[in-house]
């Protein structure tokens, strides 16, 4: 996604004839992006700009509407077209807490945070060993992890439901912790492996020659290099766990339900009291929105890396 060079200053686009008369530039690799974006902009600037606006509207409008409506009184939210300038209030959020949204948020936080920590604790050593490859044929182990990504969750749901029921672990938040951990582990191992495979081996060899022990290598050499990868992996796992709906709705009832389940229940019980529903939806999406925007670049890198490699 990212080039190593800083973004060049945008040149004013020149409309009109193609620059065929210009002598071909001896563009260095580092100027590649600028050159291509200039050429593109010269050809169809306004059209692409329009497309960008349409996209912005298409993707942002629903979310903006949700946040804005959540801050309106129910009467203002019901008008059509929506009254954008109606007075703002946080009353809907207060109401949500009166309706007992808190335990759902706590369950979601418990399941997401604990499972993310567990995933990292298990995935980092595994990915490290797989990236260093002291054992032959470990590519197969790696592909085993990857292949489990192809198990449809719905197919695992029925046996898991029966097992959990027999163990008396239904409606227990730790069931979700364990399930989310195993669900995210393959992705995490794969991602971390992609990041760790980029650690230069010379550094590791040098550290060993210097007599650094395993813990010191991990802490002083690997950790600084792997930190962005760990952050990206943690974010992706957190978002997946927070958003998970299918296991949560089928394996929990009252005590261990998570916030997406709360939201869906709230929708069916509240009909279309839009302001209240929007407040609930905003509240439930807030953690992933914060997580996503706090580290968008890492997220993008993690996703591209995980898919391409």
């Amino acid at each position: 996604m990212s080039t190593t060079t800083p973004a060049p200053v945008e040149q004013p686009t020149e409309p009109g004839p193609r620059r065929t008369s210009e002598p071909p530039r001896r563009a260095a690799m580092s100027r590649r992006r600028r050159k291509s974006s200039d050429d593109q902009a010269a050809r169809g600037g306004p059209l692409w700009a329009l497309f960008a606006w349409v996209l912005t509207l298409l993707f942002f409008a629903p979310v903006a509407w949700m946040v804005l409506t959540s801050l309106h009184k129910e009467a203002d939210a019901a008008t059509n077209p929506p009254s954008l300038l109606a007075p703002l209030t946080t009353g809907n959020y207060g109401l949500l807490f009166d309706r007992g949204v808190r335990p759902f948020l706590i369950n979601s936080a418990t399941a997401s945070i604990l499972s993310t920590i567990l995933v990292l604790a298990l995935a980092i050593p595994a990915a490290y060993a797989l990236a260093i490859k002291p054992v032959e044929k470990w590519t197969d182990v790696l592909f085993f992890f990857l292949s489990t990504k192809f198990l449809p969750a719905i197919a695992a749901l029925l046996p898991i439901y029966l097992i959990v029921k027999d163990l008396g672990m239904l409606d227990n938040v730790y069931t979700l912790v364990i399930l989310y951990t195993s669900m995210n582990l393959p992705i995490a191992v794969w991602l971390m492996h992609s990041f760790l495979a980029e650690v230069p081996r010379e550094i590791l060899e040098a550290a060993e020659v210097d007599g650094a022990g395993l813990l010191r290598v991990l802490w002083q050499v690997i950790r600084p290099i792997a930190m962005p990868g760990i952050a990206a992996t943690a974010l992706i796992c957190f978002i997946f766990s927070w958003n998970e709906f299918m296991f949560a709705v089928n394996l929990t009832a009252t005590r261990a339900s998570t916030s997406p389940v709360f939201l869906v229940g709230f929708i069916s019980s509240q009909g279309l009291f839009l302001a209240k529903l929007c407040a609930a939806a905003t509240l439930v999406s807030l953690p992933v929105l914060i997580a996503g925007f706090a580290a968008q670049d890492k997220l993008v890198r993690g996703l591209s890396l995980g898919a391409i490699k």
């Binding site: 192809f150 709906f245 389940v261 968008q296």
Partner: protein
């Protein structure tokens, strides 16, 4: 990729002095957990699929082996064939056409705009991907609402219920909106790798946009197109979230396979039958996965 190649060439270099024993100890816990909670349930599906297991009643307490009964039932059941056909339509419409085309168009056009615009657009598209599907479903339910939904206001078709009138179209558009970010990011990365000098040459030679795309861009991003298509097809194939919009209705008109499994196994209680269909889904997944992994290995070596 470079590091990959190096380590593949010398598989037994133990650069960090990790040692086999410790390396095995590092990998085993993760393997065990994945085995216990992903692979073992999948294997149990195999067993459940040949029983008449039900959620309640006598067959719940003492399930009998019924052999391939569930499978023959499924294959002759019009409801199952309906679900399979709808799932293929769903994958074709929302993943292969919707997400790929929209994702590529965004990635392609964002090369032409200033970097800030690109960042903003990418973040907003990503926003749709980050949000929980339950919330995206709620936004679409409100947007498509028959009485005061935005779409009906814009089109002047107040009173029309889109989720009842066009359920498949609704879930296809819903899934396209929600999932486009992944294709966009992937193609964005891929297009960065297309040498602009080759595009320039093609343009100087008088190639039109389509010819440039076909002869210059496509050969460079073919691998990415393949990866992307396979991954999003799989995700869409297994996606349960259409349930949140239509619950498979009206009258099974949008009942994709995951929703069908849910409805027959957990709603109607036919666990054995549901498991048999799960296994059929699993096999379809495996076919795609084997195909994908083979391609991936080929590309690496």
């Amino acid at each position: 990729m470079a590091a990959q190649a190096t380590s593949a060439a010398a598989p037994e270099t133990d650069a960090a002095g990790l040692g086999k024993a410790r390396a095995t100890a590092f990998v085993t816990p993760a393997l065990l957990l994945v085995g216990a909670f992903l692979v073992f349930p999948a294997l149990w599906t195999l067993y459940l699929g040949i029983t008449d297991y039900r959620l309640t009643g006598i067959a719940a307490a003492d399930p009998q082996i019924v052999g391939l009964q569930n499978y023959t039932d499924a294959l002759t059941d019009p409801q199952f064939r309906n679900a399979l056909a709808l799932t293929l339509l769903f994958v074709l419409g929302s993943a292969i056409v919707g997400q790929t085309v929209l994702g590529f168009s965004i990635a392609w056009s964002m090369r032409a705009v200033p970097k800030t615009v690109k960042t903003v657009v990418e973040s907003l598209v990503l926003l749709a991907w980050i949000l929980p599907s339950s919330i995206v479903a709620f936004l679409w339910i409100a947007y498509l609402n028959r009485d005061n939904g935005t779409l009906n206001s814009v089109l002047g078709t107040s009173g029309f219920d889109w989720l009842l009138g066009h359920p498949m179209l609704s879930i296809i558009v819903f899934n396209t909106w929600r999932g486009t970010a992944f294709s966009m990011l992937l193609f964005s990365a891929a297009l960065n790798a297309v040498p602009p000098s080759q595009l320039e040459t093609a343009r100087l030679a008088g190639a039109d946009t389509f010819a440039q795309f076909r002869d210059v861009v496509f050969p460079h991003i073919r691998g990415h197109v393949l990866t992307n298509t396979l991954l999003i097809s799989l995700w869409t194939f297994n996606d349960f979230s259409p349930y949140l919009l239509t619950a498979g209705g009206p009258n099974h008109a949008s009942e994709t396979l995951p929703v069908y499994i849910y409805n027959s196994a957990l709603y109607s209680g036919e666990l054995g039958y549901g498991s048999a269909i799960s296994l059929i889904m699993l096999l379809i997944n495996l076919l795609i996965a084997v195909f994908y992994l083979r391609l991936l290995k080929d590309r690496r070596s």
